[in-house]
């Protein structure tokens, strides 16, 4: 039998991976197995055939291609169709520095034996043999910072939780990946969930937590299912549960589903939501490290932060810190999205040139038109012009360039990009998704959208005044909001104004009104009546 791998990742399935898997399964002599994606999303469905020379890849396979590929010698690894040759030698992969994503796409996501054979659980074993304070110091040494976007030093956070005196401590993982242009959390959870669980378990060992909560957005049903299965398997095998690897320590993990609120990606809002309440932001202090879930000390980290931890424990903090640039140590899992020719997941050293990511890995736009703008760091990140891509993608360097690294999402736009429209969209999105607790965010966002309309299509005499007002509003939101939602919404707006002022010219043409986030409510009311 020839083993043929077809990814079961959501993105691969969205372009027909299930149908390709079914077509392959009908071929005699073929055993289909389902791996996670390698991250080369533009090549999905990417079929890999096991041959004596390694796994040979075939990109963009359609179900109807299967008979032709097989008769052409695909099962022997022949160069037919969109053959890549050996996948592991593909330059797009070999140019990356995969640490957190080292095992991505190699095995069936919940195959725990494969995970173990690939070096999995070694980090947890080492952590259990160490003094908890030494585990924390290893993470401090690594220089790892919060990959969710805030960039707070992970080891310092853990040390705070470790030193807190409490009867109960928690670990909470943020998988409420609502930022447009980001999908690394989803790919990791769907493709290599044990790395995430191992990272969480190491955190629990380090700080003395006994319960973990994984908050997953409801838009990711496949991730929820895979994580649930992975937790069951890991618990049955003794890596999680009442007695972690015979150490006498307990660590149980629960999955909690989000319910379609973007704000719940903010850490305190997420804690409220895990507790079963409205996802309203909490004022800080107290910080979650001291008063998190149900008031107990809680480690709150993003998926990518936890996913970096097993490698730090196995390879050592210093090895991890050897990569990177300035105070941005280690690797970042970048996500190339939007109008990009080669979209997907790129793990590279922090400080990699943004232009290298967009043009080198990304290959420019998918439409073939010139790149006009790039938004880095999600909907709250800055729009950078094509001329401004010569910047190292790290926490400080991007901040100096007026942007932010955020969660590492990079959305590419071609020359049809309309900065004023996107600025208005940023305000509208904030208005729709604000939790409503603080005034600058709740009201400022609505006023911001109105003011941008006045700049674009209002009376020309009022334009200058509206620009001053918008700047004033942005200052109020930045400094007066409780959390990053209201505090960072001005970033895309201001960057659009700064780099693309021509788009804000009066009657600049085009559609002044972007998508209306309130239209969903109107649509929801047009349902059929009760049976």
């Amino acid at each position: 039998m020839t083993i043929v791998w077809v990814p079961r990742d959501s993105s691969a399935r969205a372009v027909g991976a299930d149908e390709v898997a079914a077509a392959l399964a009908q071929q005699p002599g073929v055993t289909v197995r389902r791996n996670g994606t390698r991250g080369m999303l533009w090549r999905e469905p990417l079929v890999e055939v096991e041959t004596p020379a390694g796994r040979v890849g075939y990109a963009n396979v359609a179900p109807t291609d299967v008979p032709g590929l097989v008769s052409g010698g695909m099962l022997e690894g022949a160069p037919v169709g969109n053959s890549l040759g050996p996948v592991a030698e593909d330059p797009w992969l070999t140019a990356q520095h995969r640490v957190s994503c080292a095992r991505l796409g190699l095995a069936e996501p919940t195959d725990i034996a494969a995970y173990r054979d690939a070096g999995g659980w070694a980090g947890l074993r080492r952590a259990l043999d160490m003094d908890p304070a030494d585990v924390v110091e290893e993470v401090v040494t690594s220089g790892l910072r919060g990959r969710g976007g805030a960039g707070f030093p992970t080891g310092i956070k853990w040390r705070t939780v470790l030193e807190a005196q409490a009867d109960q401590k928690f670990v909470a993982c943020n998988l409420d990946e609502g930022d447009s242009g980001t999908f690394a959390d989803r790919i990791l959870a769907e493709g290599d969930p044990f790395t995430l669980l191992e990272g969480m378990a190491i955190a629990a060992v380090a700080v003395g937590a006994t319960e973990g909560y994984l908050y997953v957005r409801s838009e990711y049903p496949d991730a929820i299912a895979t994580l649930g299965e992975a937790i069951s398997v890991a618990t049955a095998e003794g890596y999680l549960g009442e007695d972690v690897l015979g150490s006498g320590r307990s660590f149980t993990v629960h999955v909690r589903r989000g319910a379609g609120a973007y704000i719940c990606g903010e850490e305190t809002s997420m804690l409220e939501s895990i507790e079963g309440r409205r996802g309203e932001v909490r004022a800080k202090p107290p910080i979650p490290a001291l008063s998190g879930l149900w008031g107990w000390p809680t480690v709150v980290n993003n998926v990518l932060t936890f996913a970096a931890v097993p490698a730090i424990l196995t390879g050592g903090g210093e090895t991890y810190a050897a990569a990177g640039d300035g105070r941005s140590r280690g690797t970042q899992v970048f996500q190339l999205a939007g109008n990009v020719a080669r979209g997907g997941l790129v793990e590279a050293d922090l400080g990699t040139d943004l232009r290298e990511l967009v043009e080198g890995f990304g290959g420019g736009t998918r439409s073939g038109r010139p790149v006009r703008a790039v938004q880095v760091g999600g909907p709250l990140g800055a729009y950078l012009p094509a001329a401004g891509l010569d910047v190292a993608a790290g926490y400080e360097t991007l901040a100096e360039a007026g942007g932010m690294l955020g969660h590492g999402g990079i959305v590419v736009f071609d020359d049809t990009f309309d900065a004023a429209r996107m600025a208005r969209f940023a305000m509208e999105f904030c208005a729709a998704e604000s939790c409503g607790k603080c005034t600058p965010c709740r009201i400022g966002s609505t006023r911001g959208a109105e003011t941008i309309d006045r700049i674009r299509v209002g009376p020309p005499a009022e334009r200058e005044a509206a620009l001053v007002l918008l700047e004033d509003l942005c200052t109020t939101m930045t400094s007066g909001s409780l959390c990053a939602m209201g505090g960072l919404t001005p970033m895309p707006v201001r960057s659009a104004l700064k780099h693309f002022p021509e788009d804000f010219a009066p009657a600049g043409g085009g559609d002044a009104t972007g998508p209306d986030p309130r239209a969903g409510a109107a649509a929801a009311s047009t349902t059929r009546s009760a049976p």
Binding site: S180, A259, G409, P515, P517
Partner: protein, 191 residues
Amino acid sequence: MDEREGPRRRRRGPRQDGGPAPVPEGARADAVRDLARRRAGERGPLLEVLHDVQDALGWIDEPDVRVLADELNLSVAEVHGVVSFYHDFRRIPPPAHTVRVCRAEACQSVGAEGVYAAAQQAVRTAGPDVELQQVFCLGNCALGPTVEADGVLHGRVEESRVQQLVAELADRPPAPGVPETLPTADQEARR
């Protein structure tokens, strides 16, 4: 909450408004109560229970809120506050089919606005059985525009494709996710 004390809190005789609405009873109330009890040992289970109720019964009806408040020892206001906060929770019965179009930045960069407009038009033609929702990010940002039809994700969707997807939904029996709905408490009372 229930242990509040103080000299100002004292009973003032029978209430003029007849007191709080009674906790609903009936088949649906029993089903809701049962779903809540299954998570009895969990910490702060309200969101999970609401998901369970919606998965099993299709939507969160107003009487369900009172049943859950009673079962979980929360105030009606707390439960209502959670149901109304989150986009996912429906307070009216679901349509037979749902199509969700992503309108976030990454999908906008590859023409999501045109796809959304095409979907709006297609849904008007398809009639009331198909509901169109907008969504901000389904995590398929490298292969947009993204559309979800009855829970199935589709990538690189062009305008003609979304029209085809809507038409296919309209011709199909109700989505597997749409349950055989139990009568609401109000409907039972009317019987």
